[in-house]
Symmetry: none
Subunit: 190 residues, 4 copies
């Protein structure tokens, strides 16, 4: 009984992610999601207050998975550059293996729905990384600039490069990923 419910909810989330990937946020209707998840539209309203709630919850779910993947193998005691490089490579691996999740997050983040998410709620999942960066600054390994600027050269280039939408021609193999990391590191290192 309990299991069945969870299956339904998971089916709904999966359907939402896939459908947004296939047809985009704009064309993504509740009934289409329901059909893809093999449930009634009404069932959706048992688990979520409304469409907005469904989309936002799905986004948070996706972000959790992303942060988990990115921080996989995270070890505070490793050399600073290695921590970052691991993070960087984790990122590319995640996108490669979870294209749909990544694309959903991208589309959501640039939609007005994103304003409904509490930034703190998201940030907390990436806290270890933030702390590492702060330590890097203190230890004078990386430049002492606002966090947003650092992020603009570590996280966003990665997301843009991994995004097949913005980078159509580039082949993402171990080599290009490493080369790209070199640039990121040069950007932030002291």
């Amino acid at each position: 009984m309990r299991i069945k419910d969870i299956n339904k909810q998971e089916a709904i989330i999966e359907a939402t992610v896939l459908l947004v990937n296939e047809i985009g946020f704009v064309s993504c209707s509740v009934s289409k999601i329901a059909k893809k998840a093999n449930v009634s539209p009404a069932t959706l309203y048992i688990y979520y207050k409304n469409k907005e709630d469904l989309l936002v919850s799905t986004y948070i779910e996706v972000k959790k998975k992303m942060s988990k993947a990115l921080l996989n193998g995270f070890d505070d005691s490793m050399p600073f550059r290695d921590i970052l490089e691991k993070f960087w490579k984790n990122g590319f691996r995640f996108v490669k293996n979870n294209k749909a999740l990544f694309q959903y997050a991208e589309q959501f983040a640039s939609s007005p729905f994103s304003e409904l998410v509490n930034p703190a709620e998201l940030e907390k999942h990436f806290e270890p990384m933030i702390k590492v960066l702060q330590k890097g600054i203190e230890q004078k390994v990386i430049k002492d600039v606002p966090f947003d600027i650092l992020a603009a050269f570590i996280f966003y280039p990665m997301m843009n490069l991994a995004n097949s939408k913005t980078c159509k021609s580039l082949e993402l193999n171990d080599n290009t990923i490493e080369v790209a990391f070199k640039l990121a590191w040069d950007a932030i290192k002291l």
Copy 2:
């Protein structure tokens, strides 16, 4: 016969940009655009084949303006680093002065509509910049890496930093812009 009223078309484009900024692509309907532009919904179809055509045409219009602004004062003979810095600063100035246009472009680019735009059509407006980068590589001023990777460290960080959506806390003054450029330059320079 009545002459096509150029003001009407401009009003439609402006209304489209503003409305997408206010309520987002997802909620942006033809009738809402028409109302905001003070024309009949039917009038819209005199100037555009359909909604898609309107959104795409508006996007291309916006991109043209952006490229023009970014390449403002462009001078091939200037030192390489200065060309880039000018470009960088132009970008921030444009976003600051044209928040709505920028946000429209951002939302459009991450929507599935973006697939309807011929990439070459857009690229041609930025050609001078691309050529400069190629020359930079040849002259061994910047790293010899794929163009997409260079872009990921010059154009995208700028757009992310300028985007109030992704960078809520950072204050963009002359200083931070210059600091940020330092990182971009360090990333790509040889």
Copy 3:
């Protein structure tokens, strides 16, 4: 869940027939049908795929009722002429008592929608009558001419005479109906 309300579907069909009678196929819109049937326009799409489906389904429904009425009291063993006369009179009685259904069928048949109906689907309801005619030919009671020609002198004159649109001045009483049948019989008999 709510059970499908059979009354609603019947109300929709009835409204469709009546409205086509009142204002004609050309002016017959989905919202007008919905209003006449006292349901929401959206409800219509629960029962029918689209407007076309509604109109075609209604037509087939009407044709079924017509064939049933025409073949009422049909008895293979009766004399050939009597079978035909019964059929003839059934036709006039049906039209007299079901003007709306008949007019709907007429309008539909001459509209381009008619091409969407499988002719075999309709013919099967009139099969007994077709077989009788074939027997009549074999027994040399009626002329040995193509079926379409026979039909043109038995079925169509009846429909034209019964149609108040084409026959405005003629009063259709028992006498005129009988007289008309005399002509039909003279046309086909050997």
Copy 4:
């Protein structure tokens, strides 16, 4: 100058007939007619009060041509049966050579627009034929029955047989037309 106008009006009528044939009355809009006639929608309103006026006028025009064709070679002094046979054959020839005009008339007649046409206006074109029938009755060559009944066995079977919509399988050659006339004649003759 004057000639040009007539050309335009003729183009409009022709476009109307063709378009109704192609897409049916229901889908036939003023702007589509205008486009097919290579004129502005506004031009249409110079020649006709409104859409209804255009359709009705076109119908009357078509009917005139039909009556002219049917009465071609009409000769009061010929034997009664021959007059009728000529009329019958003229009918089939006309339909064969003017499918579009015939189909337009059929669609129009069964649409509610038909009620806007003054029946007397149409009847007057067929007056010679009506007079012949009356004479036939007086001379006791054909049955003394209401005119509508006679018509139902001379005019309507012809139209049904000639109509490719109702008679899909029958091949209309000289032979079948003659055979069919035999039935018509048997129906009405005394």
